[in-house]
């Protein structure tokens, strides 16, 4: 499953350094998964379902 970031955003979660996301489709990695989940919770990103999901 990929994520679609809806607008450019800089995100800091719980003491981690800021992660910057450009608007567009993002491939989740271990290093950005928590941040992407947070963006989804905030309505700043949405999960993109792919074939097989």
């Amino acid at each position: 499953m990929k994520f679609k970031v809806l607008e450019d955003v800089s995100l800091s979660v719980g003491g981690d350094k800021d992660q910057t996301f450009k608007a567009g489709v993002v491939e989740p990695k271990e290093s950005n998964r928590a941040a992407l989940d947070k963006l989804v919770a905030l309505g700043l990103a949405e999960a993109v379902k792919e074939k097989g999901d």
């Binding site: 800089s10 800091s12 003491g15 800021d18 947070k38 919770a41 700043l44």
Partner: protein, 331 residues
């Protein structure tokens, strides 16, 4: 020459490394009251018999560095303090106004607080925001309470003022804002709110070990947000709904009834404002008392924010200001 109590400033910046003072005093402001630095020294006299009635010596048990003061809520500083109190920040916008969305995270950031009293300067590192509160009364400016606890003090440090001192800027005020509450749904509606207090409490505790008097860390406990709103209602339906479950109810509800709130303080709508919301609060309060002197009925409703189901944020703060994300990444 005496020291002047009028010359007092608090400054702070997020630390990029735990255990290392932030290099900058990024944001700062003057104070309305409180304590610039409390080292919290616990020192006792030795309880020991001897050939004299005076105590033989003293000993020290611990130090706990706390800053606890009240000030105003300004657009730039409030975003960093809310990130410290809540834990997470998402910054969007390509230019002024930038929007900072502050929400819960498990481990809040560490900050260095620097204080100045006239010509004397101190720094406390590894501070976490223990308590952050916003209080207002009618249309008077918002009063912000800040309580932070840190690990190691660097006292009488080198002189320095904040990079950005907001003391002379306009702070947030209620007039022109939005004040909404509902005691039985997640959709608050406008009410004649006359004042209130919103308190974010992380219940920070010092982590103590035997090898040193100062704590090695400061650790968050219960994430507790209390919302207390005073309002002049046209009827007591908000109280009725909190007790019975509906605005037309006639019997108490066995299950707790959850409501919500939304407040917006502003300077200029959409570009400098502070928006606070929570979708799930179990409110309670007293039915209004009669008074021979008469006057409008005022009720006060208080509740603690609880976690909604799923991924919904329990509490969201939105701040519009002119600072991009680089202002909040720390040093």
């Amino acid at each position: 020459m005496a020291l002047n109590k009028k010359v007092a400033v608090a400054a702070f910046d997020r630390q990029t490394t735990f255990g290392t003072l932030a290099a900058n005093r990024k944001f700062g402001f003057g104070l309305r009251g409180g304590t610039l630095i409390d080292v919290g020294m616990v020192q006792n006299y030795e309880e020991l018999t001897l050939a004299h009635r005076a105590p033989p010596s003293a000993y020290r048990e611990s130090f706990t560095h706390v800053l606890d003061f009240t000030t105003r809520a300004w657009p730039k500083t409030v975003a960093m303090l809310l990130e410290g109190a809540l834990g997470a920040r998402a910054t969007t916008g390509a230019s002024d106004p930038f929007l900072h969305t502050l929400t819960y995270a498990q481990n809040p950031n560490y900050y260095t607080f620097a204080t100045r009293l006239d010509t004397e300067y101190h720094k406390i590192r590894d501070c976490r925001i223990d308590q952050l509160s916003f209080t207002w009364e009618q249309a008077a400016p918002v009063e912000m309470g800040v309580r932070a606890m840190g690990t190691v003090g660097t006292l009488y440090t080198t002189a320095g003022d904040p990079t950005t001192d907001e003391s002379s800027d306009q702070s947030f005020y209620p007039a022109g804002g939005v004040f909404q509450i509902d005691t039985s749904s997640s959709t608050p509606v406008t009410a004649d709110i006359t004042g209130g207090t919103i308190t974010i409490n992380n219940h920070i505790e010092p982590v103590r070990v035997s090898r040193q008097l100062e704590p090695t860390d400061v650790w968050p406990g219960l994430f507790e947000i209390t919302v207390s709103l005073k309002l002049i209602p046209t009827n007591t339906n908000l109280w009725r709904a909190a007790v019975t479950g509906t605005s037309g109810g006639t019997a108490i509800a066995n299950a707790p009834v959850y409501g919500s709130f939304h407040t917006l303080f502003t300077i200029t709508a959409g570009t400098r404002d502070l928006d606070l919301t929570a979708p799930r609060i179990a409110f309670y309060g007293d039915y209004p008392d009669p008074d021979p002197a008469g006057g409008p009925v005022e009720i006060e409703l208080t509740g603690t924010v609880v976690k909604p189901s799923g991924a919904t944020e329990p509490f969201t703060a939105l701040v519009h200001n002119d600072q991009n994300s680089a202002s909040y990444t720390g040093s």
